[in-house]
Subunit: 306 residues, 2 copies
């Protein structure tokens, strides 16, 4: 018999969804107890409960990012596996990215402001067709964004460490120098996780290489952006705009300069919510592999950091 | 030898594009003269020039809507063919519709307003997946919108007089009663042309049948909407919002109540511009059919009105 502890403010919803699947040999715990061997929840709450979970052998994160479980001090002592949420965010992320790309091309804010002033604002609209998008990171989410961009007739560049798995990417780039990747992009989208290798990848060098009409979108992690460099690029109109879903510190402190930076839209970590219906399905699938002794899906590689 | 008169503020661009195609037996006229037999231009400017064009045998409109050329008095005397622009607007119209659908689902305006007030607005986002869109009119544009909606996982209903040509539509509806078509829609999109049969199709009956969370988008013609009924529906929150690209009178008069109606976005007839590069291509294709004596593409049926 296995004992599952759920650590999420959606605990009741998760429990109902998992009970419905009638999984064998699974009981639910309501407190961190010494016999709990599986935990499903938010990485920070899992981390906080670790001391009370001596029998833990598997932690399923409900989020994609598992930074709290990755800090090097605790990692060394882990005797359990960590799996994260993947493969469920691509659709929502694509809607987010395309939504903000179209808001830019169609001048959605500009026309709404004109409407306030009773102005017949019929300047020519832009289009996604023929534009070039560059994706920093092409995993399951990047691949889905690439597929959507291709649907709208865009050219897709992909920057990855080495993988070239998505066939939706027109050209791949690797290596330390991102200038060839960035040159001439209309849109730069970062889907990078927060790892030792991705910190401040979006820096003043990269931002200076972008054309002045380019727009930067970050749906990955705030730590991958040099926030000061981005503020400078926006203030000096080195790029046309930015859309940020993630930040170095969340929620964003009230005195952060982002609140008043021009041509910046912020969406407060809402781009792809972990919906219990999606994550429960993923947990159920993984639990079946777990009791059969098979490799789990989306196991986190502590060396890579994701 | 044929003589072509171009009546558009993009005349030079059109001429350059057409000259590049080196069409046989074609000369350019710069004024309406008795020997002009082909005209390419805006319907209202063509209409105004008709009296000076006794030899006209073919008028190619650069727009989809050709109402000025359709009024019954002049129509009876037409001895020339009218072709309009079709098949080139589907992509732009799809970008427009999906852009505003996503702006609604992702709360793009709501989050921008929160940003102004330094609020971390992380309420749950919506998604297009699983939503239902109803298309009033499914020609080449509607079919392309349907294809895009299906790409995003939406259910597509189509209302047409009788045609069921697009395979992207999940269920078709016909006939006078639109209630079954409208019931339960998340989005209603009108792509209807302005004809005797389409005037005020979007009336208080239809708007009352929509759920209160529904959003109406009009990219067809203003005359197909009962504007007073729409204002009432928005004022009384009978529907959640509307996005209008077209109006009974354009530009919209300064004293029109639309300017101050809540939950209404206006885009000032910009949804799908006639780009010379697209329309010239269409003209060139049609000219080749014309000199071979073959049927022209997109010939307007005066009885149907489009």
């Amino acid at each position: 018999m296995h004992r599952l502890l759920i650590l999420s403010h959606d605990e009741n919803e998760y429990r109902a969804l998992i009970e419905k699947a009638r999984l064998v040999d699974l009981e639910f715990a309501t407190q961190p107890t010494p016999d709990v061997d599986i935990v499903l929840g938010e990485p920070s709450r899992i981390k906080a409960a670790l001391a009370s979970l001596p029998a833990l052998i598997w932690a399923q994160s409900i989020w994609a990012g598992v930074e709290p479980l990755l800090d090097s001090a605790s990692r060394r002592n882990y005797t359990f596996r960590v799996t994260n949420a993947r493969g469920v965010f691509g659709g929502l992320m694509s809607e987010y990215v395309i939504g903000y790309l179209l808001a830019h091309e169609r001048k959605i804010f500009q026309r709404a402001q004109a409407q306030q002033m009773k102005q017949w604002e019929h300047s020519l609209t832009g289009t996604l067709r023929g534009k070039t998008i560059g994706l920093l990171g092409v995993g399951s989410i990047g691949s889905e964004i690439a597929r959507t961009a291709k649907f709208f007739g865009m050219t897709v560049r992909g920057y990855t460490r080495e993988s070239e798995t998505s066939t939706q990417v027109d050209v791949y780039y690797h290596g330390q120098d991102l200038s060839e990747f960035a040159k001439g992009l209309d849109y730069l989208v970062s889907i990078l996780p927060n790892t030792a290798g991705t910190r401040k990848v979006v820096n003043s060098d990269l931002l200076s290489t972008l054309p002045s009409h380019a727009v930067f979108i970050n749906v990955g992690r705030g730590q991958t952006v040099d926030e000061s460099a981005l503020i400078e690029a926006l203030n000096q109109n080195k790029i046309a705009g930015a859309v940020l879903d993630v930040f170095e510190q969340e929620p964003l402190p009230k005195d952060h300069p982002f609140w008043t930076t021009p041509n910046l839209l912020m969406t407060f970590h809402t781009s792809a919510p972990s919906l219990p219906v999606d994550i429960a399905k993923l947990f159920i699938e993984n639990y079946k592999l777990f009791i059969e002794g098979k490799p789990l899906k989306y196991q986190v590689d502590f060396e890579r950091g994701y």
